[in-house]
Point group: C2
DNA sequence: CGCTGTCTTGAAGCGTTTCAACACAAGTGG
DNA sequence: CCACTTGTGTTGAAACGCTTCAAGACAGCG
């Protein structure tokens, strides 16, 4: 229960992360995968070993689909290295980006704990390797080590909070405000200068607008002196307080 | 794990429920409160008894606030009878209705499993009684009966799914489509004629629009022959397939 | 180097909001 | 029980924010 440390089991902030995973990607063992995720890394070494025995490691190339809405599933997926985008399609066929998973994040919980089919799509944004643990294996460990269940509960409540916040933002804020919020969010773990974590096209999909509007709003924020756009998707925040207050 | 029955641990559909809770509200014991909720009602009788010993029952009058954003919390709240609305305020002060809890639903999980303060508001929409179980008591039971954790995991994943769907709807659909979807959803458990589960003002807040727009769109749906508006917030669906297909 | 996808910019159009005024219903107190 | 008050729903007209379409500039990748 406890655990009020937001870093502990939280989703990585999708925004503007430093690419921790380095050139030693291929060196990474399955062990690192388990020790990486907050839901398992509090366990004793021998307990982790036990889990490592049953996990399966799979690699995906950039652009490959890991699962689709409607796919049967019985595994939890943990990102070991790389970057995965999770999105939904509305009935009209429009894509909406829900989140970007970074190393240590997991997905597949819906299929695990409720339905047996996915409701969303998962696609590798770059070459990515993931660890999989099957439903029945996970269930064994949940019963054996109830602390894992508590970690997952904490993680899911956190996601619930995050997405409720996002829904409220969609329902009550202008596109301009949502973009400003996103930029402010990007400065949370980082410096005042950072690389946008995704293309403007994806950002548009994430914020529920169009690439044209993203481009225009970024330009107008630049005109007003709040930010400076640099090459290679880099952005420098010039007036953070102004950004926060005026939008 | 198992449990693919969507009815089992799902949020009550907010929409258009029959008021099951009758004139015998006051007769309801704390026992009914526990046996009512999917997260506990699979337990043996003697296990439920154990839980009943530690729960606290509280009543609220219509309009009373059960908790506010920022409030400290260490309890899980289970609705025993009545109706509670959960909403958030955006920074700009706009209210967004997130869901309506009916008997058997619970809330407070965020404060329980993660932060210690609420991010949303809970307000009694009518005279309501709830059962509370404290964090430390709940934790004991989670360890003693891991199946409870699995039920809660299932419930939370289901909510995650529902709210992701809602977010996608905000991001990709017109207001008209969202209203049409809502009406279609209302017919899921009910007849083709039902009472709107909330005022148009609240519905507007729930769907991220204004009361004026709700009123106009309902009128235009009526003009086009899809629905008929009746007194006392009742609606009759005349052409369900049309509603589904044309929006 | 050239191709393909991403970003930019303009102009027109549309859906939704906003404000205001009024009708109507529900709840309260004399 | 009616009059009064308060809140909810309706309707119109104007304004606004965002999308759409189209065309061109630019960057990244094979």
């Amino acid at each position: 229960m406890q655990n009020n440390n937001p870093n502990n089991t939280s989703y990585n902030n999708h925004c503007c992360h430093t690419h921790i995973q380095g050139h030693d990607n291929k060196v990474k063992s399955q062990k690192s995968c388990i020790s990486l995720v907050p839901i398992f890394n509090h366990l004793e070494n021998h307990q982790m070993e036990e889990i490592i025995k049953v996990i399966k490691s799979v690699s995906y190339k950039k652009g490959e689909i890991i699962y689709r809405a409607g796919d049967q599933s019985d595994s939890l997926y943990i990102v070991s290295s790389g970057k995965i985008k999770i999105y939904r399609l509305s009935e009209s066929g429009k894509e909406q980006l829900l989140h970007i998973l970074l190393p240590g994040d997991f997905t597949g919980e819906l299929a695990l704990f409720r339905e047996s089919v996915h409701e969303s799509f998962a696609e590798a944004m770059e070459d990515t390797s993931i660890c999989m643990i099957t439903r029945s294996d996970l269930q064994k460990f949940l019963e054996k080590y109830p602390s894992i269940a508590l970690k997952i509960l904490s993680e899911l409540s956190g996601r619930l909070d995050a997405i409720e916040k996002q829904t409220t933002s969609f329902a009550t804020n202008s596109v301009e405000k949502r973009i400003a919020d996103f930029l402010v969010e990007c400065t949370k773990n980082q410096e005042m200068e950072f690389t946008l974590p995704m293309s403007q096209k994806d950002l548009a999909s994430y914020l529920g607008t169009t690439p044209e509007t993203i481009s225009r709003k970024l330009s107008s924020l630049e005109d007003e002196g709040y930010i400076k756009q640099l090459p290679r998707r880099r952005i420098r925040i010039l007036d953070l307080d102004g950004l926060i207050q005026n939008y």
